[in-house]
């Protein structure tokens, strides 16, 4: 770790930001050295995203100073911050899918001759830039044709080339699988070597320990501590974040009684051409079936076919008593007592302009029909109930969901499905972007729900988590259900082996 000579690279002094009903930042003193990766940690709604938005001028701060190399600066927005050398990759990937990779990298800074952009020179420059990041791709193709990880690296490349002193990454790894995380980390390490100061926000503690040099923890808008990563252990870190002891980070599970009895639902030969090969699945009351697999392997597609988002074109579904079920649209699925909490809350999930209460009432209202309005008082009681149960951080139920922090939006979406009291609930990555405290809450919730007899299908990239609560785990690879593990066979090793099988065959 580099020594601080005299001035830190970037420093925030007494930063303060107030939103109606919330003090998002309360006198935060934060400093970043050159050549370090500095983690910013905190529960959902702690103020991490707000802090970096104030640092880059995306939000106007209500008080405090920002110093770069000891000089006061006052960036007015992203572009202004860039000019000071501060580049940001915000919480969601922010590039333009309709432009080519090169156009994205060079937008606003294209090489021109006599006012005309030279596409050749632009592509050449883009190739040069990306090769520094170990990426050798066709830069003339549209951005949309590359995976999220590659897009993420391109976003980082753009931020770095335009700024070059400070790089801010807000949950850059939230939607990446482990190989892709390695790709991004390789890039981050080489940038640290180059002497950049990097702020790294993530809820994955493993990643924090792997890559960062120092950690700063925020709680309720206050800075509660900054320490060297190697001097701190997990337990202490979690305590700092939550301000209390977490009983156990991942509870040893109470799934002793393997759910027995007749299946509640049976799917046979269920599938859809081009998205998921036909599979058989049966699920009993009180059972949790986990789905493991890499991103894009067919996990989400499985969920979408079951819920009718993409109608199946083969196979059939039956209830336990043998009656056939029609499942060609989400409407029919909801009517059959299904619930589905999708992975991407931005596009499929919450409605940002509606309040927390309205979002929570939405699915229930849809289920009982729009003619019978739920009385406002009941809606409010319901919303408050779940705000408490899921620990949603919001001043009240009337705040538009779009103004909540990312992780709290995720919780609202979960609450929306829970109120409909489904008999079969599909959760796609329920803990993504959720802090450790809430993480444990959600796992406990999953266990409670199945103890009450609900059947759950849970998709997750976190294998430990699947081990903790699943009665059975289905492994998906290349759009096939390739393996099913049950009971004592559910271990991380077994899952990894089933997910990675093709490589092993190649070696044999």
């Amino acid at each position: 770790m580099p020594q601080s000579d005299n001035q830190p690279l970037l420093r925030a002094r007494g930063l303060r930001k107030v939103f109606p009903g919330t003090i998002a930042l309360d006198g935060v003193d934060f400093w970043l050295e050159a050549g370090e990766v500095h983690a910013l940690l905190g529960e959902n709604g702690a103020g991490k995203s707000t802090l970096i938005k104030c640092l880059t001028g995306a939000y106007r701060r209500d008080g405090g100073d920002i110093l770069l190399n000891g000089d006061m600066i006052d960036p007015k927005g992203t572009i202004d911050a860039q000019a000071y050398g501060i580049g940001t990759v915000y919480q969601e990937v922010n590039l333009l899918p309709n432009l080519t990779v090169a156009e994205n990298l060079c937008l606003g800074h294209q090489p021109t001759r006599f006012g005309m952009i030279s596409t050749r020179a632009m592509n050449r420059r883009a190739r040069e830039v990306l090769s520094q990041f170990g990426l050798d791709i066709d830069v003339a193709r549209s951005l949309a044709s590359y995976s999220v990880a590659v897009q993420q690296v391109i976003a980082i490349a753009r931020a770095v080339t335009l700024s070059g002193k400070v790089l801010i990454l807000d949950e850059p790894t939230a939607s990446l699988d482990s190989h892709e995380v390695d790709l991004v980390f390789g890039v981050v390490r080489s940038l640290r070597e180059r002497g950049l100061g990097i702020i790294f926000i993530s809820h994955f503690l493993d990643q924090i320990f792997e890559i960062t040099d120092r950690v700063t923890v925020l709680r309720n808008g206050r800075l509660v501590g900054t320490e060297a990563t190697r001097d701190i252990d997990r337990v202490r870190l979690v305590n700092l974040m939550l301000g209390r002891e977490l009983e156990q980070e991942v509870r040893s599970h109470g799934k002793t009684h393997a759910a027995a009895g007749e299946p509640r639902l049976t799917f046979t030969g269920f599938g859809r051409k081009g998205s998921i090969e036909p599979f058989d699945l049966s699920i009993r009351p009180g059972e949790v079936v986990g789905i493991a697999g890499l991103l894009g392997s067919g996990r989400t597609e499985t969920a979408e076919v079951l819920f009718g988002v993409a109608a199946h074109d083969s196979g059939e579904a039956r209830r336990g008593d043998g009656t056939a079920l029609r499942l060609t649209s989400p409407r029919e699925a909801i009517a059959a007592g299904f619930g589905f909490c999708p992975e991407d809350r931005k596009t499929d999930g919450v409605i940002a302009d509606l309040t927390v209460r309205e979002n929570i009432a939405l699915a229930l209202q849809a289920r009982i029909g729009w003619m019978r309005r739920i009385p406002a008082r009941e809606q409010r009681a319901m919303a408050n109930d779940y705000i408490r149960k899921l620990d949603i951080r919001t001043p009240d139920a009337e705040k538009p969901v779009g103004l909540l922090s990312g992780g709290n939006q995720q919780k609202v979406m979960l609450a929306r499905w829970l109120v409909t009291n489904p008999s079969f609930l599909i959760l796609d990555e329920p803990t993504r972007g959720i802090d450790v405290g809430a993480h444990a809450e959600i796992i406990r919730l999953i266990e409670d729900l199945c103890a009450q007899g609900m059947s759950l299908l849970v998709i997750s990239s976190e294998l430990d988590e699947l081990v903790a609560y699943s009665h059975r785990v289905i492994v998906v690879r290349d759009r096939h259900h390739v393996a099913e593990l049950a009971g004592g066979d559910i271990t991380t090793d077994n899952m990894v082996r089933a997910i990675a099988a093709p490589e092993r065959e190649a070696i044999n």
């Binding site: 992203t78 333009l96 309709n98 937008l107 003339a140 044709s145 999220v148 081009g274």
Partner: protein, 325 residues
């Protein structure tokens, strides 16, 4: 192929144009002459020019419904000015272009600063421009000026006796300039960027206000120019002229392969779109027995086919991405 998914709509347009031309040629060999081509360019010059402006607007994710009225206003303005003052036509043209450009820019400003949908703002602009034309004159005003006669006589004789008239040539020039502006300048890139997502584009440093105003100003400028061309073509200004031309322009742009949702398209495609529409019309004139309403029906069908094609394209690229990711 995967490289050029973006080029596919353009290629489809070109193929349709060639096939249509081949069909026409098979029935009326006379249609493959520079004479017919020259007429095609002349007759559709004003539409081509205004459609280039519309292409920029649509690529940025907007729409400009005012252009038909602006063309009519331009014609009446020129005719009245030439009748009532002794200004030279070139002076009148400059005045007019200044006026329509400012008109476009102010619509852009309203759209950006008041965060109003382009549809509504330009709809208001459409009524406003048409109303202004009525205020100037309700009746058709003929244009008689030796400079007009001079411009109408100007042409370049193509091999095969076809005439590339001044206005036909002007349209080609506008297309070339528009192509360069769209694909080879920072302004052009910014237009595509806004079409891809205004919020993201602004985070990436695209000046939203300036670019939006410039886009509608450009559309206004080209609508003014189309008005001049139309007045040369018809030698008159009439406030009831060119009703619905904005819709023809939008159709040409979409048939030309530009995505109606913004973010993707080609100026060259728009030219082909205009030519396809002109070709259908020419065919019907050659035939003589068909009702001219067939033009509308065929264009309607083409338009529908293209929207389906675009939907299919978007769908397959989305799929490929999932398969690749």
């Amino acid at each position: 192929m995967s490289l050029n998914a973006r080029l596919l709509p353009l290629a489809a347009t070109l193929v349709i144009f060639l096939v249509a031309y081949a069909v026409c040629y098979a029935q009326y060999p006379a249609m493959l002459s520079t004479r017919v081509i020259g007429n095609l360019l002349t007759d559709n010059a004003f539409l081509g020019i205004v459609a280039v402006g519309m292409t920029f607007v649509i690529i940025s994710g907007g729409i400009d419904l005012s252009v038909g009225s602006v063309i009519a206003f331009a014609g009446v303005f020129i005719a009245v000015m030439l009748r009532d003052t002794s200004l030279h036509p070139l002076t009148v043209f400059s005045l007019l272009l200044l006026l329509t450009t400012l008109f476009g820019a102010s619509m852009g400003a309203v759209i950006h600063y008041l965060e109003m949908p382009a549809f509504i703002v330009t709809l208001a602009g459409m009524f406003l421009a048409r109303g202004m034309a009525y205020v100037l004159s309700i009746d058709a005003v003929p244009i008689t000026h030796e400079f007009y006669d001079y411009m109408q006589r100007l042409y370049w004789l193509m091999p095969g006796k076809g005439r590339l008239t001044l206005i036909g040539g002007l349209m080609l020039l506008v297309v070339v300039a528009g192509s360069l502006l769209a694909h080879r300048t920072r302004f052009g890139m910014n237009v595509y960027a806004i079409g891809g997502g205004a919020q993201t584009a602004s985070l990436m440093g695209v000046p939203l206000a300036r670019t939006t105003m410039a886009i509608y100003a450009l559309s206004g400028l080209l609508a003014g120019l189309a008005g001049i061309v139309f007045s040369i073509y018809t030698s008159a200004g009439y406030s009831l002229a060119t009703v619905g031309v904005e819709l023809d322009a939008i159709a040409a742009v979409v048939i030309g392969g530009t995505l109606l949702t913004g973010g993707s398209g080609f100026v060259a495609g728009t030219l082909i779109g205009v030519l396809i529409m002109g070709l259908i019309q020419t065919y019907i004139i050659f035939d003589g027995s068909l009702s001219s309403w067939w033009t509308k029906i065929l264009i309607g069908m083409l338009l529908f086919a293209f929207i389906v094609l675009q939907k299919g394209l978007v769908w397959t690229t989305a799929k490929r991405r999932i398969a690749g990711g």
